[in-house]
Amino acid sequence: MIEIKEIKKSFGRLEVLKGFDFSLSDGKITAVLGPNGSGKTTLIKSILGLVVPDTGEIRFQDKPIKNKWEYRNQIGYMPQIARFPENLRVAELIKLIEDVRGVAGKTERLIEMFELAPFLNKKLRQLSGGTRQKVNVLLTFMFDCPLYILDEPTSGLDPIALIRLKDLISAKKAEGKTFLITTHIMSLVEEIADELVFLLEGKIYFHGTFEEMMQSHKEDNLERAIAKILEENA
């Protein structure tokens, strides 16, 4: 679904992405891991067109994305920080995103799932961080997209909401959707991800399945395997 070739990006003198190829497998959940500053967010933002790479090419469904915006109606994006216009009501925010996308979202089941009904007429500034994050989930999943990109999706969610989110991701995967997820929570990765991409200093250090990762580093636990990689490269 996504093909990346020799992508490079620098901010000033800081080289964040140092040129690598990457392709995202269809119908799978791929987790992007890596220490802070390894380029995870820049990679995601490049795919979404928020960051324009210096060199290299990104193709989405076999078409280059440079200077395009239409392709984004095929992507559901959940940002890490859920901050919305404070004086809008939740229902209005949903309407805004529906307006922008030009499609009506399927909200009913999600509102029920995350118990958002009592908040629909509340202004966003009156909502707690966790509730805002649930709204964030709703805004992402109310559209039917072949690809979902989730940036640290679990932050601020309570255990029940977290279980619901995992169920939601599994259900969407069963429908054949593709996922790209960044997270620091290893248990989540172990539970849901099919493939791992490990970024280190702007390059892909590892791309493969769990089993391959464990085998190549002779560890039986993902957290330890990653700690080992980091120590070896310190």
């Binding site: 901010f11 933002k45 979404l48 067109g49 928020l50 960051v51 324009v52 915006w69 239409e70 392709y71 984004r72 109606n73 992507i75 994006y77 940002p79 920080i81 859920a82 901050r83 919305f84 216009p85 404070e86 004086n87 809008l88 209005e92 805004l96 995103i97 307006d99 922008v100 996308r101 030009g102 805004l139 990109i149």
Partner: protein, 260 residues
């Protein structure tokens, strides 16, 4: 673009700052009219307040709104919509909501006092019009400054400096230049300098409309001759429009290239 505009407008118009801003003009207008009982003086006093406050509020709202919406902008940028629609819509939303507070807050006291239909109607309209122009101009400038500066403190500082320069320092420099070159004919020079500062330009327009340009002596006469006729008026509004269009063009250019 109208979609984004609509929601930014509704978000802002509901904020308590919009209401405070409205009330400020409303109460100031009422006090000046009902205590002073002199419409000309009320307009001049309001003008002095407006030409300091409107650019300042535009500056603060432009910068704050951009920085406060930083995360929401990222969410919008990930939607299937071209960038220019997002930023133009946001800019118009901020400017229009501020203009609405200004327009209603300033106009209502005059409506209650019964000024409309009298000789002063035109002066009031020009005051309102230049206030709205200044709102659009300074919101655009500060929005652009915020767009260029990722560092909030720096962005805020630069925007306030621009406001300070246009509101106070420019006049001082202007006056110094006039004094330094007083032996030379300065009519054209001073007219050009006035066109280069939207606040000065608006002030001159009102002064001429109220027919108190005589207070400005010789320069006043020059201005009266230049700005008083229809082509001068046209040129002034053209200059104000250019002052609006330029930073808006910069916003669109910068936002199309920026990494978020």
């Amino acid at each position: 673009m109208p979609k984004i505009l609509k929601y930014v407008f509704f978000d802002l118009i509901r904020s308590r700052w919009s209401i405070i801003y409205f009330l400020f003009y409303f109460i100031t207008g009422l006090v000046l009219l009902y205590l002073g009982h002199d419409v000309s003086k009320a307009i001049v006093s309001l003008m002095n307040v407006t030409f300091i406050l409107t650019p300042l509020i535009g500056t603060i709202f432009g910068v704050m709104n951009y920085y406060n919406s930083r995360e929401f902008i990222e969410l919008l940028l990930a939607q299937p919509i071209p960038r220019r629609r997002i930023f133009f819509g946001m800019y118009l939303g901020i400017s229009l909501s501020l203009s609405l507070s200004l327009l209603t807050g300033m106009m209502l006291p005059f409506v209650f006092y019964g000024v409309f239909g009298s000789d002063h109607t035109m002066s009031l309209i020009i005051l309102l019009l230049s206030g709205i122009f200044l709102t659009f101009i300074f919101t655009a400038i500060s929005f652009y400054i915020a767009l260029v500066n990722e560092n909030r403190l720096k962005g805020f500082g630069v925007a306030i400096l621009v406001w300070l320069f246009m509101s106070f320092i420019y006049d001082g420099v202007f006056l110094m230049l006039l004094l330094m070159f007083q032996e030379y004919p300065l009519e054209k020079f001073s007219i050009i300098l006035s066109l280069l500062n939207p606040i000065d330009l608006s002030r001159i327009l009102i002064m001429l409309q109220l027919d108190i340009s005589a207070l400005m002596g010789y320069t006043g006469a020059v201005f009266s001759k230049f700005f008083g006729n229809s082509s001068g008026m046209f040129l002034s509004f053209a200059a104000l429009s250019l002052w609006t269009a330029l930073p808006v063009a910069l916003i669109l250019k910068k936002s199309s290239k920026k990494d978020f």
